[in-house]
Symmetry: C3
Subunit: 508 residues, 3 copies
């Protein structure tokens, strides 16, 4: 491999130049040439990465000539100055400069550090719009502006204390959050000042940024936009290959809370990908079932434009990740997907910003209806049917529904134990005497934490396993074994605590 | 290895072109042409997958011409109608039709949905026979028809309840089991009726199947056979490459209960596979040590026909997965392997269907004897010796034996604590007063669940780590750390419970 | 990629054949020819592996002709008999024979089984010297000769007992340790005698070795040297490709105690490696950022000689793994790195061989000072800056420092609860009344084990996640969620235990 590349690359380039088949870099704008002049030595990795990207090798005008299905650009035209050059440093880092609070004068140009979805939308408008309808684009607010979710985050990140008898909690700093929940959910990037540094070109000024670096899916950018395309289309290769392989999703979906990648990796699909994926064509647009790949990755089911060998469309491209899913598997209880990507608008009957009551009853008016659920499931099934019979696919979805009901029932039992603990004074959280009242965090005592693990780890894992064929993730690997063990442990904790209260302070 | 392939590929291509030995698709039967006519658009992924398979590219007659060691077919002849066509849709989905309860009339042909090991046996008789001796082929019955194992499954899958003071259990539905234990162990596939659907060819009838889809290793098929070759030889590529890579085994052996894949992946062997495996030849039959691969995968040690560079056989092919293993690492206690693949026949002295007493004493008459253990270990050592010295290999097996004894001793301690809990009334399970009696499930209380984790998770993990070189899986990753911590936790639970009983109901 | 290779391979072969650039094996010494004569059939895997190695294909003399940066040998000359032959069996297995207690007469030659770092140093002197300054080379002693660490090891490996009321501990055998802690830390390999075996060449004698096999990083070799180059440069291919891929490090750094690989695998860097790594050049020396690879592996940040596209050195090669790291993330508390690779010399104020007090205060005199910390961090930042801006890199290190302080604060809380348990007699460990005294193991009771998990699993995981971008490993996957849950669990355990004491033995 070493020898192949080193010896042959020059030969190959000659051939390529002669035939114009590929590899002939597109012309660069003068401004981008200026950037590269310094950055080839200042940040060689970035420049080399970009040189390997498709954006470096073609112009937008050329890209627009492609057949509709094969196009990677969703607008019909772009501003004139972008059309006939490679998409280089300057093209992206100067777009919409006025909207960017991080714009600064840099060697004669107005440059911004953080390229945002609105910048990408100049060429990829549809994708950015779809992504805006994606719950992921709202990941910052959905966590930080939801009182229940924020309470959970604070009980995770806070600094616990001990006074010799009781545990307590003191607050944490901002950096902690950026390396914790917001690593995936996205930080708020703000310009906090300016700093001056000595460089090879003399003294230069740069904006100071808080919340940076971050590539979380719901990042709040200095132009006010939400999200980061580089969450999945990593860095300066903007690689569709990276975005289509499951490793990208694993960055945020491998933990016990959303074990999608773990489940996928032991599924039949994951097995085939792990073995044969290296022979597949991850760059093809459209992506042809059976020819370009022989088993789905995450992108196949959730995102990509799929065709069969005759060019018939099996699934349209979407960047709203739940466009083909009827139910949200993730949650205290699994329900239909929320209507709005901004889930802070939800109020259940108890007044909490949650898509279900504590009893599991869904907050229906905030959730997609049965007709929309069916539309979404139909889209998903079209993908499954490319490789499986109708009987197979139909049964699979019936089973998934059973597992949703099963796990919801098991969560209800856990919730009953917790509510009993609150009622009997063994723990302090919600009180129900005069309507629901939050008396204390519902996430800071041991039995409350057990309850969280019940749905967040075990019920979720079991549901993901049913959705994708994850074997042990529905049993011994954070699945049913742990749900039923957890119920016992919650019951024991409650009994021990009540016994202790009774033993030390017997009722007369 | 790299060089060999590079040098030979062009030569090989010339030879191949000259002889037409491969690449030119084999002739198809008329029936299979008929299938493909519709299914190329109805299920394009399946057809494309099959086209990439060896079965699509050669006839059985051609395959039989190969040298004995290189043959992938273990019969000497096949029915005439199969000999001179590619093994296509019709060839497999019509075989032994009368035996298949799922056979149905489909566009003029009698077709069955579920291809079973008995169908595959028409060409692969030896492999199917070996697999029948494999404990995996009995995985359904070994779980569901063993009262102890079934009790465990029910306590995992059942729906727990809470009445305000005590936890209880209500039963679960069938779908739950299919997505839980039986996902790996295999379901029973039964024809439950017929459904009619509109298709491109007008109205058509199809059998309704319960327990479907499933590819569990002990699946009970509609022809009464057991198992599913596609558990490992995935789907319509029937890929030997998939079967030989460890990802296949990981589908069922990555959880905490049988962490074989996890251990392998951090072993020296797994490390070398992860780095260099992509350069290996996973299709070669026979499989040559050092030339086709430079470190073992699961298949190397458990299944494959191995030769050295001079064509000498190092290990014969076997589909009885424990053919080279003296001891069953998995279990409450590790013992010699059971004689019979159907382990429901076992009775220990206490009358339970388990290969050892609760004290660890093996149920010798149901287990292979020392001579057979030695024969199996000898086969395994021949594989090890291809790359390791006799001193290395000998010491390795001595250590494994030590670890078996160590973990059995630690399990005995856990069992003593549990038995004390039962005796003192702190938990309810077995009673020993008038011989052993099952008074209550032995898997439904917390201390019982801790005991299960002791052997199922921690002792197993420690043993697998010793067998394969799994480092942390014998220490902090579900290994010894957890065994000794668990003993403390069981002891504490028992003490707390007895204290609570004493505090609330002091003995006079 | 596939197409490129297919088209170019024949062209390459012609070029290669013409120039003789590769493939022509180097001449072998007569002695090595003799080894291979038998071992090609005795251990075919070893011989085939070695034939694929660089050492088989070039002579030291040829290797020394390379440009300084491209050289893989760090001496300027070698003994005459080694210069002009391939580095074969005899060359390594006979070096420094007098120093090797495992040297034995073998078919007319003096051979030793265990090739040690001092043997490798004949050609790779600098690397061996650097490795000697690496804490890993001292891994055996740092564990076994540190009373606190040894106490932990004994409580992990020991055989727990139960007398009907209390748990206890009995000692374990040597083999257990070799398959447990010492699997990674390294065993002591000793010659325990001689054994005679029948071979194809008649009866032969071989040394019997205890502690063998083992490839732990701090192995004590029969020549008295420490370490094993084959820990990373696996077996007889001595593959730099293996050493540079993260799977090697995962062998010992994937568990919950040092989850470096787990964190890496879900980081952006790991994602890019998993997708694009198969296209990278893992053999290139020096290793060029952006050209040979586009995201770091473990070796990039910790070991390798890195250059930019113009041949400027970005980082010097080092085999002292913390040469670019200011802080040791691993530990009860994270502190500056110890000065000495042999950490048994450390004494904190309390007299314990630990780099910090139980309160977190660092044992400064044994740790590198701020200036050295800055030098090391500067080296690391040079690597980061190849692909990231100064603002990005600067902020990243500020955040890491915050997380170190955060996790240390959380560990202090856990320590306070444990100390309270000791003081109040709820557990037995250290006593502080007349200066610090070890009254009982500090690792054998449940609350002590919870305390260990606090820093060893959860604080470590959180810090590694902050260092490398590990998302959930700082939250739900053994991160902050578990730290704060653990504090609650420790508090509850202490309260339950004190309640039980009070209930059964009320103070008058």
């Amino acid at each position: 491999m070493l020898h192949t590349r080193k010896l042959l690359l020059p030969v190959l380039l000659l051939v390529a130049a002669a035939t114009g088949a590929w590899g002939a870099a597109a012309p660069l704008s003068d401004a981008t040439v200026g950037c590269i002049d310094c950055h080839a030595s200042a940040t060689p990795g970035i420049v080399a990465d970009w040189k390997n990207s498709r954006m470096a090798k073609t112009t937008v005008a050329e890209a627009l000539k492609q057949d509709k299905l094969a196009r990677r650009i969703s607008v019909d035209q772009v501003p004139a100055q972008l059309a006939n050059v490679a998409v280089g440093c300057y093209e992206c880092h100067s777009l919409n400069g006025d909207a960017h609070k991080d714009t600064f004068e840099h060697n004669g140009f107005n440059i911004h550090t953080v390229v945002s979805p609105l910048d990408c939308a100049v060429c990829h408008a549809e994708e950015v719009q779809q992504y805006g309808d994606n719950v992921m684009s709202q990941a910052y607010g959905n966590l930080m502006n939801n009182v229940v979710h924020k309470m959970l985050a604070d009980d995770i990140n806070g600094i616990p204390t001990f006074d010799g008898a009781h545990t307590g909690m003191s607050p944490h700093g901002d950096d902690v959050e950026a390396e914790s929940c917001l690593y995936c959910h996205g930080t708020v990037i703000e310009v906090t000042g300016t700093e001056t540094r000595e460089t090879n070109l003399g003294e230069m000024s740069f904006p100071k940024l808080s919340g940076w670096p971050n590539q979380g899916v719901g990042r709040i950018n200095p132009d006010g936009s939400k999200g980061s395309c580089s969450s999945c289309h990593a860095r300066h290769q903007f690689s569709i290959t990276v975005a289509r392989q499951p490793y990208t999703c694993s960055e945020c979906h491998k933990g016990p809370d959303v074990p999608a990648y773990k489940v996928y990796s032991v599924s039949k699909h994951g097995n085939i990908f792990s073995t044969h994926g290296k022979e597949w064509d991850f760059k093809a647009v459209p992506w042809t079932v059976g020819e370009d790949f022989s088993a789905p990755t995450c992108a196949v089911c959730h995102v990509s434009l799929l065709t069969d060998g005759n060019g018939n469309v099996i699934a349209e491209r979407t960047h709203r990740m739940n466009d083909r899913q009827a139910n949200r598997l993730f949650g205290v209880y699994s329900t239909a997907h929320p209507k709005s990507a901004d889930t802070t608008v939800i109020r259940n009957k108890a007044g909490l910003p949650l898509p279900a009551e504590l009893t599991g009853e869904p907050a229906t008016e905030y959730l997609i209806d049965a007709a929309e659920q069916e539309r979404r499931e139909h889209r998903m099934k079209q993908v499954c049917l490319a490789c499986h019979s109708r009987t197979w696919v139909g049964n699979q979805f019936v089973r998934l529904q059973s597992v949703i009901e099963e796990t919801n029932a098991k969560t209800l039992t856990a919730t009953k134990i917790l509510a009993t603990a609150w009622e009997k004074g063994a723990a302090k959280g919600l009180s129900f005497t005069d309507g629901l009242k939050v008396e204390d965090s519902i996430f800071n005592e041991m039995i409350e934490k057990m309850w969280v693990e019940h749905w967040l780890f075990y019920a979720n894992s079991t549901r993901y396993a049913a959705a994708m064929g994850g074997a042990d993730y529905g049993v011994f690997a954070n699945g049913r074994w742990y749900m039923n063990k957890n119920i016992e442990e919650m019951g024991d904790w409650l009994a021990f605590r009540l016994t202790a209260i009774e033993a030390l302070h017997p009722k007369k």
